[in-house]
Symmetry: C2
Subunit: 344 residues, 2 copies
């Protein structure tokens, strides 16, 4: 865990903090915090996440998207622990120069996402400052008094994603290059899928920081590897495949970039595969089979029939070590993955 700059930082920040005896998960072990209120009481899930960099960098220049994402990033963490949604608290720090149109679109994005996710807005706060930042805290309930953690998968289990990957990075690439988007980036809530996943999965985590960061964290926590044998044409979202073709970006870059797609990554024991897929079919959901859990540590990807083994720690740390220089980060990650895909 300590090989990753972000993990070190979070552990350092939390070192002096008092912890709760009612909390069931340890630091880093699940996407949301799990609280057992009393011996017979319900188990609750809590998560908190803010949208700041994405607004400041212009990535979420669209206020509707900024509002939508403020709700969805939190909904995604709740779904990843298998919680049903109870509600959301919201803080809106608005710039004094915010105009009515911006505010209307922002509120519409927040309200639409809250309705789509079944997350009523319980309350919150507003502030005025020289910047815009949106924070939310989501609350959920674990009806069967169990939760999905990031830990628990075993070798030979099947690795799934809730949907195709790479739309988040495709959107970010297009947005930062000033290109017209070739599709809409609008992550959806996964509470229906989570109701099924929580019955079968041995671990689960959302791809809020992109696929490679997610599997890197899961591999570290479980001391295992992942063998992704599906080809990119099956894994990747059409937006990612199109940008890869049009701009010669290596396909693995859409798995490696840090702007996630907010899908769920989870593992299913092979003997439960049929029952899992039957239930998925009943809600017309097609989970993407990615590959399997391997006893050998590290990530293997299938790129044009060749197996590549990206250094997932290097990829994760690259953004943190290039802090504030996003262009340089993109250039370096594309260069690294281009060489890796070519076998250089």
């Amino acid at each position: 865990m300590k090989a990753i700059i972000e993990n070190q930082f979070i552990e350092a920040l939390a070192r002096a903090f008092p912890r709760s005896e009612k909390q069931l998960n340890a630091l880093q072990q699940s996407d949301a915090e799990i609280l057992k209120l009393s011996e017979n009481g319900p188990w609750l899930a809590f998560t908190m996440d803010s949208i700041a960099e994405e607004i400041e960098s212009g990535l979420y220049a669209d206020p509707y998207l900024a509002g939508w994402m403020t709700v969805m990033v939190n909904a995604s963490d709740l779904a990843a622990v298998g919680a049903d949604p109870l509600g959301l608290l919201l803080n809106e720090t608005l710039s004094a120069s915010t105009d009515d149109r911006f505010l209307q679109d922002l509120q519409r994005g927040l309200a639409d996402a809250a309705i789509a996710g079944g997350l009523p807005i319980l309350g919150g706060d507003t502030n005025t400052a020289n910047h815009t930042e949106l924070s939310a805290c989501a609350v959920g309930i674990l009806p069967e008094n169990r939760y999905l953690s990031r830990i628990g998968c075993q070798a030979n289990e099947l690795l799934y994603a809730s949907g195709r990957l790479g739309a988040g990075n495709a959107f970010a690439f297009a947005q930062l290059q000033g290109l017209a988007p070739n599709g809409e980036f609008k992550p959806q809530p996964h509470f229906k899928q989570a109701k099924i996943i929580r019955q079968f999965a041995t671990c689960c985590m959302d791809t809020s920081d992109g696929f490679i960061a997610t599997v890197d964290q899961l591999m570290r926590l479980n001391r295992l590897g992942f063998d992704v044998w599906q080809p990119p044409e099956t894994l990747l979202h059409p937006m990612a495949l199109q940008i890869a073709a049009q701009f010669g970006v290596p396909k693995s870059a859409f798995l490696a970039g840090i702007h996630g797609e907010f899908e769920l990554i989870f593992t299913i024991p092979p003997e439960k595969k049929t029952a899992f897929l039957q239930q998925a079919d009943q809600i017309r959901w097609q989970p993407i089979l990615l590959g399997e859990v391997s006893a050998h540590q590290g990530l293997r990807l299938n790129m044009a029939g060749r197996t590549i083994r990206p250094d997932t720690a290097f990829i994760r740390n690259l953004f943190d070590s290039r802090r504030g220089r996003i262009e340089q980060y993109i250039q370096e990650i594309i260069e690294y993955l281009t060489n890796l895909e070519k076998g250089a």
Copy 2:
């Protein structure tokens, strides 16, 4: 309620938001959001608040204070509804230029306040941006399945504060004028006091936006007035009295300014006064008797033996209508109150 710019704004923001059937309080009716999980389940309290303007304006230039306040502003809202603390989630958006010393002091402030308030840190998130903003969401439990709301007081009940008033505005005045502080501004948690208040009080609200904003909101919600007949020497914190004397600032300015002291304002029926004070005495707490609830709307203050009737709507709206011009706000409010105290 519509006479107040902030109330209008909050109602406009919340208009399109979905609400929860499990939520017991309506908008504006309590300091924290109250959720009844199920028919026999526990009642929970949630609140969320951010520290942004206070950091940006230099008011909380001290990172220890910024951390301490991030916890305390949320602890204060939980106490105001009579909840016992369960825990806190935290988002730290840090500037890329944050140095180690700043971060250490900030974390120490957060941890000390979390320990002082009995609020374990459950989890949270970090972000990097060009600004610093701290957000927290606090969770509490209402053990007897009832809560303190802002509504419920009646004429002739007694008006109390949990402690002396004006330290928040005295600190802000000193800080903005670059004066050496004449005392420490460090609001304390009120969970012990809240355990007593919740047994006796008919309404309660914290002074997060200052005393006058608090009583203005309570008067509007209850359609009543407050007659504060205690003299300022009894009401005001020594820091406020000293600045008033030294700089000729009208004493009522320390009740009117928007930088609150995070005390609780509450009402007690006269027949419960003795039992209430007996319990307070057992924890060595001396509540400040301010005056009483009046059937006549409006606020009456006792200043040097004269009754003044400040226009509380004008005072509350002044900051919002002078947005971003803090110096002008201070000058105008001092001018208004100086004239009022002189009887001009």
